[in-house]
Point group: D2
Chain length 310, copies 4
């Protein structure tokens, strides 16, 4: 039997691979390294792979715009799951290298940026070389062909490559974390778990002060909370905005389904980017009057009224 | 075949009878006069009659509280239709009586009240005798047994009874009109016509400034307008209120059905008092995104999303 | 020194007089009986009297439309206070008259109406004579010139007139009560007491589903509750509505003042009908963030920001 | 006379310097290069400089989280102005170098990231060296001491340094633009221009579905539009969010001042980050009933009511 194929930002050893492995059993999938997020998503769209794992939000850098934008444009894709990983690095060197020997250090540009202050203090004179990924830098170093003496590597990678670790927990911000999502082509939505998110992109009908309010009323009228909202300038229509939102409910719950019906009716564009289990796993609070049973009871009541049963 | 029986505020000749005749063909129903509104509604509840026609709103006197309250309490009843009649009277006398001969005048207490100024100016010295109905006063006069020389009678009644009309168009307020409704036991709701009203009684969950707002958001989120709203102190819970509202939509329209589902879920008491054609007959405006088709499209979209069709 | 003059629905002995006496000390005012509510209000407008006491709401009959409409049109008038009185009657007769002797009974048309069921059961054959006021009927009876043997009189009046009381507590509805208000020409508003009402009449800018919501948001955004709301068809513009509302706050409170500013800015007509102590005397709850101090602090903060103090 | 000192992300030649020069006349200020955004803002807080110019939003990368977070925490700072610059690069080399000669290319990590695809296609084998700034890379190249043959440089810098330009308009996304802001310590707010923004950070009182709605109602009730909203996880309180918003109005406009009062009253934390002219320069639409004059008229009306002038 063929194993499902997962595209990810390669090569082996990246944070994205760590996220992938936090989601699935390595033995049961074929992991396919890709050069960047758009390439990974394109591979899903083309059918070359079944799934992709990509970063979508970073507590330090904010929304990963490329991912959100690439998801919203083109053939439909959906989020099927998420995982949140803390972001910190190990400073990896070839055995025998001391900190004082390091004249150049390499990592992905994001990695270098997330350790900017640490590098400025610890390796003030070192050249910073941007690699295509954090893992690529470490691999090059391990292969003995690098033009640098040190790499910022995701935890664990140095050991696998036979490198030495001079420092662990390297990061400018101790709270740095990245949210990764599993992406697939639309199919049956993963079943509701009681702790789910629904990700949407919505363009408002106009830019009145009331239009955003009216959009949010569609959620509030059904008791659905948002865990994220970001306005995004629409590149196709200067001066207009779309809104990227995460709602704390699942499309199979009536409160979310009704909110979606309301959004769809009253906004020119609504893109559904999936309902999936939230990484926190905390059961979503269901306000009084908004449970599946509350909806079923109220609908049965209306149905009864129509035929005279009060 | 037995004809349907209609209770109304009798006797023959009342405004309520006029309203009844404006709604149905006299030859096809059996009109059953009743002493007052509660009696008429009780007759429907008990099954003695199929329907009742009662006054529910008066542009001069405001809501006819007794009707609204009697409808809301006890066995379910629903409004099946409405008609609005202007309120003005004829001053009826026995043939040969002149205005100067009138020492006493009779009508229902509401009738006397609606002509208070006119009576004060035109018949300043006349005793005002309250009859059980406007028609009863005129009948008594026609029968020659009355203790008064004149009656304020609904238009047309004097002629039928062989009385003379000294004045027509008698009313303190030229815009006075009364809304009458046809009441029945719950059964299949009359079909939507495109110009319908739904009457509801709603008790709010608490008296926060936001509770009324949240209730109205259930309408606004589906684009449903209200044509009447009245807060009513709850006799069973001092300091709390219920709200009597007329919404401009029909329970068979999805926008109204969804609003009802939302109201039912989020308020402790929602009493449905019927969906029925509005007297005006003006087609109700349907805002963009709130038509039956808009709902059907949006629901089909959500249904598709659930199985992966985007 | 001249005493202030109060117009009321006369003659002496009416419920309105009882309301007047519940508001002021009889020795300190000159009570001026008037024939009806419009006449009482006209007397205030013309300056013939300083104040009027009129009925404005009845728990059985609903809003007293004539009062609300007369207040809203013409020279500005304001409500200065309110009192709520239970409505029940005494059946008064001349000494020696027995129930069986009663062939005719008199009261104001509203009084007859509020006792309709009781009269139908207790005095089924008696003629009902509408008097210009309940008190007038009792006085006529006491004077020995009446064409009836019994009158429905406000409590206490019979004793003052030397009449006998055959029944007390006469009323179809045990909860019947009437709200009376003291009316005057605009002057400095009575000081806030912590348990106040503000009465307004508002015409909405259009009849969108959202217009009523937007109007109520002006209250909710400042944490102001409503204790009454009634839509009223506008006689001058068919199909449009005005709203009569009682808000639980005083114009001298910033939350009410700001709500008024918001209403005035966004609605074509806002009529202020007074801020006055609520009859209940219960202190109005002040939600978190809406007290006078909260407003003062927030304004001081904004003022500071403008000049660079954060 | 001493010139005002402006901190910016140095060295000379960065996009940030270009933004600074777009805001002020080079001859009238002393530009002080800093190593990064936190250092630039710290210099303002400490008084070492009067102002800083920093990037705050990037259409490709989204909000510049570091800037927003650093602004919100610590001693108050405010935004005094903004400018938006398109982001594209020139590929700069030493005179005589051909594309085929390039084995390594340097730029700031953000610059490398914004040209990732272009580099992968045009210089697939080249090592990418992250510099402390785009300008630093170009300067090193010009000085003849670089370990790379090409630099991605902001437009114009190559010419100033005597370098040759092999390609202009280098950028993966043709719409890429960055918003830069001028930061200072709080002082009198710059005067309103009719095309202004106010930047705020707000923490909601709780995470009910209605809390975000209630926050936005404070804007809508005064007719204030938002041009940006982003939820931000609060690092100090897991699971809670703050909201970063740009509102299209100036604190000196009453509609904005009132919205601020409302926000301050009803939310636990509101941080004012300045009112300043919007880069677009388009006059902000002022909805009916929300102009300065509308507020003044309505307030005068309320003030009049309090003393009896209607």
């Amino acid at each position: 039997m063929t194993q499902p194929r997962y595209a990810y930002l390669g090569p082996s050893g990246t944070f994205t691979e760590a996220a992938l492995l936090a989601m699935v059993d390595a033995d049961e999938v074929e992991a396919v390294p890709m050069i960047d997020v758009p390439a990974a998503l394109a591979a899903v769209r083309s059918g070359d792979v079944e799934f992709a794992v990509v970063a979508i939000e970073n507590t330090v850098e904010g929304g990963v715009t490329a991912t959100l934008d690439t998801l919203s444009r083109g053939e439909p894709l959906v989020i099927l799951g998420e995982v949140v990983l803390p972001v910190s690095f190990e400073l990896a060197v070839r055995p025998g290298t001391a900190l004082a020997d390091v004249t150049a250090v390499s990592a992905h540009s994001h990695g270098l940026n997330q350790c900017r202050r640490w590098l400025a203090e610890t390796l003030p004179g070192a050249v910073q070389i941007a690699a295509s990924s954090n893992a690529a830098a470490a691999e090059e170093l391990a292969a003995g062909v690098a033009g640098f003496e040190a790499a910022l590597a995701p935890p664990g990678l140095a050991a696998r490559l036979g490198l030495e670790v001079l420092e662990t927990g390297v990061a400018d911000n101790a709270h740095a974390a990245t949210r990764f999502v599993k992406i697939g082509r639309p199919a049956a939505v993963p079943p509701a778990t009681g702790a789910d998110k629904t990700t949407l992109s919505v363009c408002l009908p106009d830019d009145r002060a009331g239009a955003l309010l009216a959009m949010l009323e569609q959620f509030a009228a059904r008791g659905v909370n948002l865990s994220r909202i970001e306005s995004r300038p629409r590149s196709d229509r200067p001066g207009e905005y779309s809104f990227s939102v995460d709602a704390l409910a699942h499309i199979d719950e009536p409160r979310m389904a009704e909110a979606l019906v309301g959004l769809k009716r009253t906004n020119p564009v609504v893109i559904f980017l999936g309902s999936y289990p939230a990484a926190t796993g905390y059961p979503t609070p269901v306000a009084s009057g908004t449970s599946e049973e509350d909806f079923a009871d109220a609908r049965a009541w209306v149905q009864g009224l129509r035929s005279g049963r009060h």
